[in-house]
Structures are given as C-alpha cells and as structure tokens.
C-alpha cells in the first residue's frame, strides 16, 4: 500500500437479475439477488482478494466493476467519479483505467485473431494511447513483459498452452496501462504448476506498474498468497473483510471459519491440529435468500435473532475487524502459523 486514498470505492452495490417465465408473454416471477449490498474500498497498489463459493456473485461483481453490467442500485466510484452512470466518451475513457483478466484463457481470446491483433486491439480502440507507427513495437514489448516470445506475434491463440494464453490475456489487460485490474479467477482454469507462474507474474507487474488488483478466486491459499486484504462473500453479500492475517489467522465469521477449515494444510503436524468444520446442506437460492442472516440456515451458531435481524458488516467486541455475524468471535481453525 503506497498511497492511502482509495482508487476505487464501491458503495452499497446491488445487482438483481429478473427471473421471468413464459416464452411470448414474459412474466416477472422474482429476482436473483446476485450482488446484494456490497461496499468496499480498494487502495492504490493494493490487492483485494474476494473469495466465496460458486454462485455467490463474485463474477457478477467483476462485471459490474468493468461496467459490463449496470447495477440495480449503488455506486462504484473510480477516483471520485461514479462509473455506473458514465456513457459514451467518458465511459470509454474510464475503461482505459480499469481492465480485466478473465477466467478461461481458452474462451477469452478470439480464435480468429492473431496474438498481435489481440494484444494490439486496445491501441486500435484507444488510438491516443499509442501512435500508429509505434503500436507493433508496443505489442512486442507487452508480450515480452508477460514472458512470451515477441516473435510469436503472428500466431493464433490455439497454438499456445493455457498458461501462455493467460499471459496473452494479461498483456491485453496491461496494454492501456490501467490503474485497476479486475482478475476474475485468473488461474482457476490452469494447472497448479502454471498457477504459480501466473500469480508471480501478476505480483511482479503490480510492483512494476503500481497496479491495484481485485482478485476474485475460490482458492483460499492463492488469495492468501497474493492479497493484502481479503473479503469473503456469501450469497451476494460480503460477510467478513480484513487484512490477510486477520482473515486467515483470526477469522470471526462462521462461514470464513468453515471455508478455512477445508483448506488442505501442507504440513502433517498442522494437519493433526486443525479443526474440520463440515457445513450442512447447500447454499440457499439467491432468488429466495433466508430472512435475517443469509448464512443462518447452515450455521451451527444460529439463534432466533439470526432469523429476525440482519447482522451488519461491522467490528464487534470479540471481533476486531468487520464481520457480518451477531456472534462474531475470533477462532483460529487452522492453527498452522
């Protein structure tokens, strides 16, 4: 964290997708609450990890931050400007500052474009970034920066491995020199050995260009490795936010504790001492979330108050960092460190 003023501020972000029925006459029968009141700050040069299980709204959150979807309510302030209200030229200018690395390197590159075209496309869209004559050179530099051979500029994506393709995607994201890169599960489609390479590349680039990352993942150990702060998401809501040490060593929300207890511990000693919390049942449908605390249906601490009162994301006496639980309490489940 080099500066203290947040580069990105998310305020009460809500995205509901309508559920419709009928082919010709569509009736609205409900809504999926994909993102339901999410707020956080992202500082310059910082990595914010967002973890949660499948279907908790992580990818929708990423799309909202890329202004690929319009939120139902709430604000996303980039350097003080609400990007959810931008249109036309101002929106295009904002896109130079916030870029994305997508999850699946096999579908995120146009199969009929060469690598040179893919990485050079940002310059064609924003011609003011690079004069025409210098573009090819810049593309070669970008390929080199992400560790690819610049001479492969005329190759097609299918001629590369998954890890190399992800590097192409990162080069495309870097081309416009953004301040913020939203990484939506950037390594979950890669082999474990390649994951480390890509993660290290992302870390190196962050130092080099003072980037801020929103790092969305479901792999807790990778998030711990790269993130400065971690936000845990459940059913469209953040349930706990804290520094990586706070989240991993003194988790306060039962859901975080359950998640952490499922992480494999690469140490036989530690493995003996850690607790295993097994959650019962599946996450509730985001179309019909439970009343009160959304986690109460799977929580072993649930009391009557959990069904009637929605807990706020705030610090409590027994929990020094913000946690969305009436009974938040520090409880180290891993005992690894």
């Amino acid at each position: 964290m080099t500066h203290d003023e947040p580069v990105l501020q998310v305020r009460d972000l809500v995205k509901h997708f309508p559920l419709t029925q009928g082919v010709v006459f569509k009736r609205r029968i409900g809504e999926i609450k994909a993102v339901d009141g999410v707020s956080f700050d992202l500082n310059r040069g910082e990595t914010l990890g967002i973890v949660g299980e499948s279907g908790c709204g992580k990818s929708t959150l990423a799309k909202l931050m890329m202004a690929l979807e319009r939120p139902t309510a709430g604000q996303i302030l980039f350097e003080g400007t609400d990007i959810t209200q931008l249109k036309g030229k101002t929106l295009k200018a904002m896109r130079r500052k916030v870029q994305m690395v997508m999850q699946d390197p096999y579908t995120s590159l146009n199969p009929r474009m060469t690598v040179g075209d893919i990485v050079g496309e940002p310059f064609q869209i924003h011609p003011e970034v690079a004069p025409k004559g210098s573009r090819k050179q810049k593309v070669r530099e970008l390929l080199d920066v992400v560790g690819l051979d610049p001479d492969h500029i005329n190759r097609y994506p299918h001629q590369f491995s998954g890890g190399q393709r992800q590097r192409i995607g990162i080069a495309r994201g870097l081309a416009l020199r953004p301040d913020v890169i939203v990484c939506d599960e950037p390594v979950s489609a890669l082999d474990v050995s390649i994951q480390a390479q890509v993660i290290n590349l992302l870390e190196g680039l962050q130092d080099e260009f003072n980037l801020s990352y929103i790092f969305i993942a479901h792999d807790l150990s990778i998030v711990r490795h790269i993130a400065d702060r971690v936000a845990v998401m459940y059913l469209g809501k953040l349930v706990e936010v804290g520094s990586d040490a706070e989240i991993y060593e003194s988790p306060t929300h039962p859901y975080t504790q359950a998640l952490l207890s499922a992480v494999p511990v690469p140490d036989p000693e530690g493995r003996e001492s850690r607790e295993r919390i097994t959650l019962q049942g599946d996450p509730p449908s985001p179309a019909n979330p439970p009343s009160g605390c959304s986690f109460r249906t799977r929580c072993w601490k649930a009391q009557d108050v959990c069904a009637s009162e929605v807990p706020e994301l705030e610090p409590r006496a027994a929990a020094p960092h913000p946690s969305r639980c009436h009974f938040a309490e520090v409880h180290d489940v891993v005992h690894a460190s």
Partner: protein, 314 residues
C-alpha cells in the same frame, strides 16, 4: 507507469530476429492466412481446377465442341460413343457430348445463383436475429420456421407445378429464373438457422465481453469479433450448398418440374432418357457423371475452406 519502464522490462527485444524471417513479417489477417493456406492444399486446388473448367465450359461452350446441341439426326438415335461423337447420340440423334457441354451453363447458373440468393437473404436474417435477440429474434425465427416447415421437394413440386402454366411462354431464361427463385426460397431457412446459431454462440463468448471491456464500439465488435467468427460457417455451408443445389436442380428437372426443354441441362438429359437406361445408358451416364464431378468438386472446396477458416485445424 511510463513507456521506458515497459521498454526496460523488454529483455530479448533485438535477439536474432533475422533468424525467423517468417515470424517477423506484417501481421496477417485471418482471410489472407486462410487464402495462403488454401493455395498450398491439393484437396482445394484440384476441385478448384475442376470447377474452373466447368465454369469456363459454362461461359464459352463453343470452345469445347463444334457440334450443335440442337441438331438432331434421327438415323443416329441412341448410337453409342464413337470417334465422331465421343459420348454417342441420344434418342433424338443429338450429340450427347455437345449437350453435356451446353448443359453446364444452366446447371451452374441455377445452382450458384440460388445459393447466392439463399445465403445473402438467409444469412442476413440469421445474423440480425442472432445479434438483436429479444422480440426481433422471436419474430424472425418464427417467420423462418414457417418456411422450414415446408419439405424441400414437396414445396418445390407444389410451387413449380402451380406455376407450370404461366411459364410456357417465357423462354429458357425465364424458366431458369423461376427455378432459381423457388430453390432459393426453399433453401434460405437452413442458412438462417446456421447463421443465427453461429451468431448466438459468438455473441456470448468471453472475448466479446473482453472487447466490450476494452471499450470497443458496437461496429468494431460486429466486424472484428462477431462476423469473422460467425461468417465462416455460413461461407462453408454456402460452398457445400452449391453442389447440393446443382443436384437439387437435377432432381427437380428429373421430376419434370424444374428446367425443361428448350433449356439444355444435365437434369433434363437424365430425365429424358431414364426410361431407356436398359437399352443404352450413355445418354444418362455422361450428364450424370458431369453432375457428380461438379457436385463433389464443390463439396471438396467447401471442406477445404472450412479447414482453412478454422485456425484450430491448421
């Protein structure tokens, strides 16, 4: 975050670039890549030569034969192949070789023109339906399904036999145009389906999202991302369809509702002599062979184009 920073990180910038001259060339487009690829493939070049030959025959039939396809000498009726007439004579004593040569023009014109019309119209409707989605898609899809519900041959029989009376006095060109239009009318829904599904698949792909995230304009997304990926299947189905439409023309002519005399076509020749197959097969065999060769050539070209346009198969 400045340019020199990236330049400084760029390490093996100038390392032996001359060692890979083919890799340092201009960035080539998909289409020029595909074209270069095709020119190296015998499975494309051989059918291309065949199709080229038949197109030449269709344009200048006089270059290939001196005989008059309409000149009939009944004394030579059904004579077999000889040095004088390579393919023999038909029932009316006309030169089968000359009639096969002159039959290329209607067959190829009807086939290609029908495919062109069907692809342009069907492809456009499919692309619009797939891109627009919503009620426009519903409307266009239902409209397409009406035509898709008509069985091809049955539909052609109904329309062409209904028109049979009106087209007695319109000459060869008129007959050809009517058959072309009917075939295009019944053929376009297939192209629409392929174009729409190709467009739908591409529209929701991650790379289109990525391009939107970069700030690409809708025009750019359509022409750089959607069309190149959606057009390839349309071009392939069109190339293959030329062959099937030429044979469909022969089927309709065989049934007596497609082309008919005075038009000279392969289908007409086959239809005229089918009853005499057991006495002498040559008036049927030679036009049928020409038809088969052209159809196979077009299908092979379609196959080669499909491979060239799909970088994954390269």
């Amino acid at each position: 975050m400045s340019d020199p920073q990236i330049a400084a990180m760029s390490r093996h910038e100038d390392e032996d670039r001359s060692a890979h001259p083919e890799m340092t060339g201009q960035v080539r487009s998909l289409w020029s890549d595909a074209w270069h690829d095709l020119l190296r493939k015998p499975s494309f070049l051989i059918p291309l030569v065949i199709v080229g030959l038949f197109v030449l025959i269709a344009i200048f039939p006089g270059l290939f034969t001196n005989a008059d396809p309409e000149y009939a000498e009944l004394s030579k009726s059904m004579q077999g192949p000889s040095a004088e007439a390579w393919f023999g004579y038909d029932l009316q004593g006309r030169d089968v070789f000359a009639r096969t040569i002159y039959g290329a023009r209607p067959s190829i014109i009807v086939g290609t023109l029908a495919v062109l019309l069907a692809t342009l119209f069907g492809g456009l409707i499919g692309i619009i339906a797939g891109y627009a989605g919503g009620w426009i898609d519903s409307l266009l899809s239902r409209f397409t399904e009406i035509f898709l519900g008509l069985p091809y041959v049955l539909g052609a029989i109904i329309i062409l036999s209904a028109l049979a009376n009106t087209r007695s006095g319109i000459g060869s060109f008129g007959i050809m145009m009517i058959v072309t239009l009917v075939m295009a009318l019944l053929g376009w829904p297939l192209v629409t389906r392929i174009a729409r599904s190709a467009m739908l698949a591409v529209k929701h792909s991650d790379y289109v999202q990525a391009a939107r995230g970069l700030g690409a304009s809708p025009v750019r997304i359509v022409f750089k991302h959607l069309l190149p990926n959606a057009l390839a299947p349309i071009i392939v189905i069109a190339t293959i369809s030329v062959g099937t439409f030429i044979s469909a023309e022969a089927v309709l002519s065989f049934l007596g509702i497609g082309l008919r005399p005075p038009v000279i076509s392969w289908g007409v020749a086959i239809a005229d002599h089918q009853n005499l197959m057991r006495q002498a097969a040559h008036p049927v065999l030679f036009p049928a062979a020409a038809l088969t060769v052209v159809v196979i050539a077009f299908v092979m070209i379609g196959d080669a184009v499909r491979e060239a346009l799909d970088p994954k198969l390269r």
